[in-house]
Point group: C2
Chain length 539, copies 2
Amino acid sequence: MRVHEKHLRPTSSGASGQGKVASDQQGLNGAESLVRSLAAAGVDTYFANPGTTEMQLVAALDRIEGLRPVLCLFEGVATGAADGYARMTGRPAATLLHLGPGLANGLANLHNARRARSSIVNIVGDHATYHRSLDAPLTSDIEGIARPVSTFVRTVQDVGAAGHDAVRAVAAARSAPGVATLILPADLAWSSGAAVANPSQPVAPRDVDPERIAATAAALRNAVHPALLMSGTVLRRDSLTVASRIAAATGARLYCDFFSPRLERGIGLVPVRRLPYSSEQVTEELHGTDVLVLIETDPPVAFFAYPGKPSELAPPQTRLVRLAGPSENGSAALAALADLMGARAAAVRQSAGKSELPKGALTPALAGAVIAALLPESAIVVDEAVTSGMAVGPLCQAAAPHVWLSHTGGALGLGLPMSVGAAIACPERKTLCLVGDGSAMYTPQALWTQAREGLNVVTIVFSNRAYAILNYELQRIAASGGPAARSMLDLTRPEIKFTDLARGMGVEASRVDTAEAFAVELRAALAAPGPRLIELALG
Amino acid sequence: MRVHEKHLRPTSSGASGQGKVASDQQGLNGAESLVRSLAAAGVDTYFANPGTTEMQLVAALDRIEGLRPVLCLFEGVATGAADGYARMTGRPAATLLHLGPGLANGLANLHNARRARSSIVNIVGDHATYHRSLDAPLTSDIEGIARPVSTFVRTVQDVGAAGHDAVRAVAAARSAPGVATLILPADLAWSSGAAVANPSQPVAPRDVDPERIAATAAALRNAVHPALLMSGTVLRRDSLTVASRIAAATGARLYCDFFSPRLERGIGLVPVRRLPYSSEQVTEELHGTDVLVLIETDPPVAFFAYPGKPSELAPPQTRLVRLAGPSENGSAALAALADLMGARAAAVRQSAGKSELPKGALTPALAGAVIAALLPESAIVVDEAVTSGMAVGPLCQAAAPHVWLSHTGGALGLGLPMSVGAAIACPERKTLCLVGDGSAMYTPQALWTQAREGLNVVTIVFSNRAYAILNYELQRIAASGGPAARSMLDLTRPEIKFTDLARGMGVEASRVDTAEAFAVELRAALAAPGPRLIELALG
């Protein structure tokens, strides 16, 4: 018990303000050293929701040319945007977050980013080192909050280390690849004596050893009904072309994970079938497959476990052969495999689908047909329309060439933020954000940043006024659907008016309930610069 | 490297579905055992954003009479609501959250709740135990995410323990008091063999030993300019009356922490001065105080550290005397102290302030005068109007008796959610939610739950179109205000239309820019049942 007042007032000088604000004579301050070192390592974009402990970092942004700070009104928007940016550029953006709670608000989308293997560098301010023991209200275990989602966590220990730690964070984010979190205490941000650190090279993904490639080739040669299951970096145009040579030589079907971070697809590209969401459908889809080659992915598992149902989804008779794990160089392994097998035949390319526009009361499938018909070339499609997206995705297979960004971690609230980051990474392209009404409500603040930055994003809200995926899941576990259960799935009381929400945040919006009207609105939205939102009132 | 396929498919039966759904013959399933045990321990309200792993828990809610599930569209709303509920009832509500990412979305408001010493029981579903090693997309270190904010973290280890663990979680949440997090794997939720556990008594706060009370009395008797600094449970009508007897006997001034979770105040109650937010103002306010008695609080410290400024704010000449720490029984200690000192004199009570309504273009002070004049008796005021609230708070001192719920942890996004929980706890009272435009945007989804539940909440948004508190902080650190810095503080591009946001979520709303119009709207809002929002367009 601390009854003596001498315990209440430390006599050391440690508990009162220390350090001096840097001047030119003393070198950079810690904040400027950190920001300049990040810039030297190629980080020029900041998705930010800063507070007082980050003000020196914000001030440093003003002293360096060419940096782009993007204000987000909620930290989950910042981290989801950084994920979208990384998926489209292959480079990390920085986030700028306010102590432990700011990081915590960004954690769910960092979970998704970790699953996508997206490079992100979180910069988190903390209290001054001597202030932490006083347990002021915002004090928390920032490293503890960061650890579950981060591949690298570090708190800068002295001002001279700020730049070096920044460089290490970037290298870690690019090497894993994944989420690096660097914490800068306020006194080290404002103290002087730091310098810019030289960037270091990220570690390249490991090459697959030749024996494994040979073993895979042997397995494929002996297979009757082989298939390739891919994810990660091989779902790009060039690697998919290589995969299609193997398919042509062996009859292998080409699949990608349901949770693939980025898939290049559309007319003229090699078509790849996405594994279904439902466990039973995955097993059915793979029925008869005697060899399943895994490239930058793991064996298919159920999204959730169910009583009495298997969690591992490949049929028991299917032999699983790993060509490359998620952290290995799958593209090089695939190319070596094709060469080894002498697979040189021309690839099957996707031909154009129907271009006529459908009519009638909107369903997810009719909406998908409209989107497929009007999708502009090089579009980026962000898919967080949990149930409706399953109908749209296959229809867009035969659309103009585009990039499809899927959910990776199952934490809702990724779609709208990811569209912000993708559009900032690729301002010349159109981004379509497909989002369910349930998922849109986790991070609606992203619409404001879309408006502020004038981003070319068309947000399409599939409004079925329910957590529809949970209706499906509730049936699966055969649980009773009493009033409590029904109330947890229902979004009708009150109905959410997304057009009002969008306008409230500066985004033009419309609501449609027929395919014809949707086509008119989507065409107009794609023709106009800046963000638009279209709410689809599904029957 | 995992090249051999035998590593890819565990041969143990552990990786396929196990367990049976419970029937009556086999006892309860784990989910029902947990929910019934919580109910037996007095937990009847669930702030929920469940997913598949929580469906058995949701189904269990339907089998028990008298439980109230409240759907929130974002987990930060659920946890902030649970904080408000605990502050008004002294009892824990449960939250129902979806694995690690769902918990993560609620973490910032759990940080605030921890600082408020609010009792909360988080119930978090996890994957089935045998499913976790497969690293499905939603797998994460849930305990690791929970630990920084929780006083109790536990994962149910077998189905028979579910009820007992639930009882332990409630006891921990009530004893600390604080945040308890209980994780229930899906297979233990659906497996049978569990029972209802008997509730256990929470540990009461420690009594202060008589020597400390005597030492405090001696210090006060010798003091020339003493003061009491209070927080926690002593800021209620009865304890404040006791404090005022000491004040009358010794001349002590009465203060509460700036970050006090709950203060009872208004006409007829004992007035208490809230310590200011600004460090310099705290030191100035306490200037000349020779003895500062601490009751359920710690010595005053700066919210943030600043270069060259002290972090500990009591003047060097002030002797700090702790009567009761935050986890001790301050009310009993205060009563014993007053008796020991023979302090029996009648207390000073707050008299009524001006009741006339002001006129003119709205400022925070004019808005405060309107609120003070119209505040209904027994109102609950939630204050997350970061800068504007500082003007409103003192004006309401002389309003009808009310409860003031302040920020405690500094993590923005508490106000709107806390109003949900307070209004559900006290449906017969009016809740006023004062919120800044910046802070309202962290958790705007709370408006939807206000509408769904028909809550008597009037939300008042102080729209100054800036993170105004950061303007103040930027000046303090004398950092440059270049374009990046200015853009991080600015909420004008685009302006947020809170009336549209509110209507989009089913809450009637209006916007005013004069004190006269505000009075008309506030009176109407207070007279009508259900939620309303008034946006104050500040000049």
